[in-house]
């Protein structure tokens, strides 16, 4: 069997994985990058709007503290505040670094990186390139990897001496030596042959889980592999109940249902209307945001040109609010003919400006839906987009609870709390990708000896099973039923009864999945690949439904029809999932959220905090206000 020794194996070649690999290599570690698609095709390539970083290029009042506050607010204060702090502080450096590696962002008049408005961000903050920012980011990182390979070629005569990409290669198991990580096992999609990585450190950067839902903006890669690999290796997942339904996915034609319509459409002036032509978002401004959003169309429209004197339009509320509002309008019978609402930019900007600012949206609607967005409104509705939950990690090093395991990007949990702000993912990938690479390098430096690979035989038998079975279940059918179940019973609006039902179906599907058969051989066989991925999707779905059933409140990406109120007591609790090595015994337990550091919590005013915190916590806050740390900060 093919076998490779590395210092660090990075699973995933999106923004997080590439940034982690670059860091590990820059710290002198021999690094493998493993990914399911071709190099440069990871999900990150699809990101449109931009990367949030408080550079203050467009509004000089912006700084890390404002960004930190926006991020915590967006996540309804459930965020791992240390991650939110590091993210807000380091994002500008990470974006500037991309520029030094060749990225070409759109510019301001004075030649700096331009920044655009996005939901939940107080100031224009997203570095962007039209509406293809993810492409720019992945290409830049890909080209940085190549640049490092060229350096290695100069020195060692081998491009792949220090960093090698294993593309179209899927990891199905992490390998361990006792408690610690010792490598990874996978197969080549092209040939079906197996491959073993022998490595003391593994960085998971596998992205999200959207393929468990029917209506999603996510690609086939998003089968929750990293989430499942971590669980099976003994690590923990947190916040799995929080899933972001992006308010604006395409609703027609059926085959493209769910494909994303970037939030930039609204950031650049687009408005939402129902079938009666009403700008309904004014009816959905929640109390906690009342003083930050415009209450009339006139004020909202003035904001685009004068942000100091006006409040922002309610179309730019955080995504969870907008998605729920659209859902309610459609349910109330005020939806568009094709089951969404109208998103209109055609009456808001000149046609040429639309084509310039939103070229790929213009293209996408023209090609896929016969709609010219410069002349008519789009029809849009919520789509499963992003999972806030993921591997529980240490904020500073990205280390999971299993020694040698690290996680960064969408697969990690905590940073975004109960709801992610648009643009905060791309910056998250860079900040924590780098930290994961550095964390892995540091971990290896502290190891006395290399751990030994075990468990290869078992991993191989597990992967081969669907091919060896004859006359079993069709994996496509099992997948389809899972997607429907999650969409209908554990989707945007949840109820106890439906979640329990979802869990029953998942249980049944789990046994059906163990009996799938893949026709054909080992060479590039998508049926076989799907049969293997099912284990991961089912495991992740179980975590989502179990955690969602337990959390008896509504917050961010978790809305319970039977518990519609956000509860300060629940804010203090995180739900933590774990499982046995064979994927059975998924358990979810409560864990107390750590209190925010004094110098961070005092960045908020009392009135705002009192909407989120318990009375005990408010008492702590009052004590902190009077405390020495804060007084010191005031003086300096």
């Amino acid at each position: 069997m093919e076998r490779h020794e590395y210092d660090v194996v990075v699973i995933g070649a999106g923004g997080a994985g590439l940034r982690a690999a670059i860091e590990a290599r820059q710290q002198g570690k021999r690094t493998a990058i493993v990914c399911k698609s071709l190099f440069g095709k990871a999900h990150t390539v699809m990101a449109e709007g931009g990367a949030a970083a408080a550079m203050g290029n467009v509004n000089s009042d912006d700084n890390w503290m404002v960004h930190f506050r926006d991020t915590m607010r967006g996540g309804k204060f459930l965020n791992n505040w240390r991650m939110a702090e590091l993210h807000a502080k380091e994002a500008p450096d990470r974006v500037w670094e991309l520029e030094a590696w060749g990225a070409l962002f759109d510019r301001t008049k004075d030649g700096k990186i331009s920044q655009r408005n996005f939901g939940g961000h107080e100031y224009p903050r997203l570095a962007h390139v039209g509406d293809r920012t993810g492409l720019e980011m992945i290409r830049t990182l890909q080209q940085r990897v190549v640049a490092l390979q060229q350096e290695d070629y100069q020195v060692h005569g081998d491009y792949e001496a220090y960093i090698k990409v294993f593309a179209e290669c899927t990891v199905t198991r992490l390998l361990k030596d006792g408690d610690a990580i010792s490598g990874a096992f996978g197969y080549w999609r092209e040939t079906g042959k197996f491959i073993v990585f022998d490595a003391p450190a593994v960085v998971l950067a596998t992205g999200g889980i959207g393929k468990s839902y029917v209506v999603t903006s996510n690609s086939w890669e998003y089968t929750g592999d990293g989430h499942a690999l971590a669980l099976l290796a003994g690590a923990k997942l947190i916040n799995m109940e929080f899933i972001q339904f992006h308010p604006t996915g395409m609703v027609w034609p059926p085959s493209v249902r769910g494909i994303l319509v970037t939030e930039s459409v609204r950031g650049d002036g687009g408005v939402l209307r129902n079938a009666q032509g009403e700008r309904f978002m004014f009816n959905y401004i929640p109390d906690v945001f009342k003083d930050k959003y415009a209450t009339s169309e006139e004020e909202a429209d003035r904001w685009y040109t004068d942000q100091a004197g006006n409040r922002r339009p309610p179309e730019l509320l955080p995504r969870d609010e907008v998605a729920r509002a659209i859902n309610s309008e459609v349910k109330a019978g005020r939806g568009s003919p094709q089951g969404g609402v109208f998103l209109d930019v055609s009456t808001r900007l000149p046609a040429a400006e639309i084509v310039k600012r939103l070229p790929s949206m213009h293209h996408q609607f023209k090609e896929l839906a016969d709609v010219d967005i410069t002349k008519e409104p789009m029809q849009v509705g919520p789509t499963c987009h992003y999972i806030m939950g993921g591997v529980e990690v240490d904020a500073d090093t990205a280390a999971a609870s299993v020694p040698g395991l690290f996680a960064a990007g969408e697969v990690s949990g905590g940073m975004h709390g109960s709801n992610r702000l648009g643009g905060n993912s791309l910056s998250d990938l860079l900040v924590f990708g780098r930290r994961a690479g550095a964390g892995a390098a540091e971990y290896i430096d502290g190891l006395a000896k290399r751990p030994v690979v075990t468990g290869v035989e078992e991993a191989m038998a597990e992967a081969l099973a669907p091919l060896e079975r004859a006359g079993g279940e069709n994996p496509y059918e099992v997948h389809h039923e899972l997607q429907r179940t999650m969409n209908e019973l554990a989707g945007i609006i949840r109820r106890a009864g439906e979640l329990s039902e979802a869990l029953e179906v998942v249980e049944k599907l789990k046994s059906r999945a163990k009996n799938t058969a893949a026709a054909g051989g080992k060479i590039y066989n998508p049926g076989w690949h799907l049969a293997i991925d099912l284990r991961n999707m089912l495991l992740v779905s179980e975590c989502v439904a179990k955690a969602a059933l337990l959390r008896e409140e509504s917050r961010g990406g978790h809305t319970r029809d039977d518990y519609p109120i956000m509860s300060p007591d629940w804010r203090r609790k995180l739900l933590v999932c774990s499982a046995a090595p064979d994927g059975s015994e998924v358990s979810v337990v409560e864990k107390v959220q750590q209190s925010m550091r004094d110098d961070l919590i005092t960045l908020f005013d009392r009135g705002e905090l009192s909407k989120y915190l318990t009375e005990d916590e408010m008492a702590e806050f009052d004590a902190a206000l009077a405390g020495p740390l804060v007084a010191q900060k005031r003086e300096s």
Partner: protein
Amino acid sequence: MGYKAKFRVWRGEGGEGKLEDFTVEVNEGEVVLDVIHRLQATQVPDLAVRWNCKAGKCGSCSMEINGKPRLGCMTRMSTFSEDETITVTPMRTFPVIKDLVTDVSYNYQKAREIPSFTPPADVRPGEYRMQQIDVERSQEFRKCIECFMCNNVCHVIRDHEENKVNFAGPRFLMRIAELDMHPYDVADRKDLAQEEHGLGYCNITKCCTEVCPEHIKITDNALIPMKERVVDRKYDPLVWLGNKIFRR
């Protein structure tokens, strides 16, 4: 609304294969990739095809539809008549791995042979200042989604395997142009473009431009200007370098 379409799909692996006929359901609004997926789910579970975004953004699903290089996810079924037989084959210029999936490693090799972005040593991150108008030319080329259809269609290599060694293809000649037009790049790749990467082989037929799903004007905006730069590089390279840096 739905109808049954006739599809002929190339199936095979390891250098052998043939066109196979299928009858398959098509619904309103679907694209060719949807139909390929329906074949997978209902008739041939091991039919190999690459895809990711299904929205023309990742460049994975390149194939030849009725002989023309196209993205499967951006080719609407409504562009064909209902009784037409639609033939789907893999990209011809690259070796087939299986069915519609080809070995595109040639492209990654070429990418690695082009010297990377080289900024001046004394500019630190955060200090870059560029005008929009100066970045726009390279930005056009950076729209490239690496579908490799331009390389697939270019006659220099389409039927001439032997030229692959000396020719980077339009995609990577354009990459050279992109770096050459980057306001902060100080490396000179002009000789390299001509001598190593075969810029001279290109006789500006514009076939590459025609197939580009991003509508990048590869020939007019990248290849021809690059050819001109190679030709009039007689002037003092220091002056050229200075122009480049101080233009911003």
